[in-house]
């Protein structure tokens, strides 16, 4: 049975709201006298929805919205607002509140609002649970550069959700993935040589555009396969270009090469991933990320 937590410092108003919601036999009501008390109770048991007054001592409704959004992003908060607090209600909605109900119309609107918000939250919670079961996915992408940041951001969320990486290591992983994807797009599918970039930059950009429009480059795709568990991530990125020999690349950290514009993508991939392997043709790279485990001495194994 869904649990509604009613937060209000006035015992009379709490009873009033509890009575209105109690008309539904499908809801269980719990109470808290202010935002702090509500958060303490949520540490023990998380309700399905929070209905809160706006003005309360210790922690008001607006602060409670912010705290719940941060700590329990799947728990919706509905505000009860008094006359003249519309502006604060707008702030609360911007901060992540699911809805608000003016106190003057609680009797007619509150129960319907709670039921609607619960229905929407249930759908979202189910989606999230479903995504929690996902350990892999694959993508086939056109030569459109704007897809790469979108994909990297998606993978960043995926690896964070699975617990494979903490925030910092997740960022490192994203750096490596972005390099691999850009490498596959520009050097793989569009067959653009790094050396071209060292010359006329306007001409280089024109060449990128020309290749995007002309065959055989135009029809080529990027194939991305992702498999992520809480301890291991494998990312396979394949392009349809001619391939290359990674061993032929100059060392970008050699002082003689520091002024060169390119050649650092593979270095970053190797630095931030646990393993980077190319296939024989050089058009497919497999990047492996393993979960870092802290030893008793606090160092990473």
């Amino acid at each position: 049975m869904p649990v509604v937590m009613v937060v209000d410092d006035s015992p009379v108003d709490r009873r009033l709201v509890g009575g209105l919601l109690g008309k539904s036999v499908n809801l269980r009501i719990e109470y808290a006298a202010d935002g702090e008390e509500a958060l303490q109770a949520m540490e023990k048991s998380v309700p399905n929805v929070v209905v809160t007054d706006l003005i309360m001592p210790n922690m008001d409704g607006l602060e409670l919205v912010a705290a719940v959004v941060e700590r329990y992003p799947l728990v919706p908060v509905i505000l009860m607002t008094g006359r003249g607090s519309e502006e604060i209600a707008v702030k609360a909605l911007k901060a992540g509140a699911a809805s608000y109900v003016p106190k003057s119309v609680l009797q007619t609107l509150l129960l319907d609002t709670v039921e609607n918000v619960l229905a929407m939250a249930h759908e979202e919670q189910t989606q999230v649970r479903l995504l929690d079961c996902m350990t892999g996915c694959s993508f086939v992408i056109d030569n459109e550069a704007s897809m790469i940041p979108a994909l990297v951001n998606y993978l960043r969320r995926l690896i964070r959700k699975t617990g494979l990486c903490d925030d910092t290591d997740g960022i490192r992983t994203c750096v490596a993935l972005e390099e691999a994807l850009n490498n596959a797009l520009y050097h793989g599918n569009l067959e653009l040589n790094s050396a071209t970039r060292e010359g006329d930059r306007v001409a280089y950009r024109a060449l990128v555009e020309e290749r995007r429009r002309s065959e055989p480059y135009r029809s080529r795709k990027l194939f991305v396969q992702v498999s992520v568990t809480p301890t291991h991530g494998a990312f396979v990125i394949r392009d349809e270009g001619q391939g290359f020999d990674p061993n032929q690349l100059p060392d970008p950290t050699n002082p003689a090469n520091l002024e060169k514009l390119s050649g650092r993508g593979l270095l970053l991939m190797r630095t931030f991933m646990d393993d980077v392997q190319f296939n024989e043709r050089g058009n497919e790279v497999t990047l492996i990320k393993k979960k870092r485990i802290l030893a008793n001495n606090g160092r990473t194994n």
Partner: protein, 120 residues
């Protein structure tokens, strides 16, 4: 010039400060290069000698931002100026060190420190 999407430029005396507008983890390479090349023109337009690269808005960056910094460095070096880098995130610092750029560019904590260093 179209409105910059990734970077902004602020003149401070003889120095131009190049700063990321917001976290651009995942910028679109072609757009970033085009925008950067246009911004670099301000070095000569404003008669600026030195440059500061302020990376404060970035959680992370990759080889494309490194490339843009090399282009900037080469431009200011060609006119006898210097480049300083500031406000670098922990991962950003790892990236600069990995690429060995910490051996050629001064990397300092704040923009003020970078500006004083170049002025001194």
């Amino acid at each position: 010039m179209p409105t910059p999407r990734y970077f902004k430029v602020e003149p401070v005396s003889e120095t131009l400060v190049f700063a990321a507008i917001h976290s651009i983890g995942g910028l679109v390479e072609d757009e970033a290069r085009q925008e950067w090349d246009a911004l670099l023109e301000q070095l000569s337009e404003r008669g600026a000698k030195n440059a500061v690269m302020d990376l404060g808005a970035l959680d992370y960056f990759g080889s494309i931002v490194l490339e843009l910094m090399v282009v900037l460095w080469k431009r200011v070096s060609a006119q006898g100026g210097k480049l300083a880098v500031c406000n670098v995130s922990p991962v950003g610092l790892e990236i600069l060190r990995t690429a060995k750029f910490d051996t050629i560019w001064p990397i300092v904590a704040t923009r003020d420190e970078a500006l004083s260093m170049l002025a001194g």
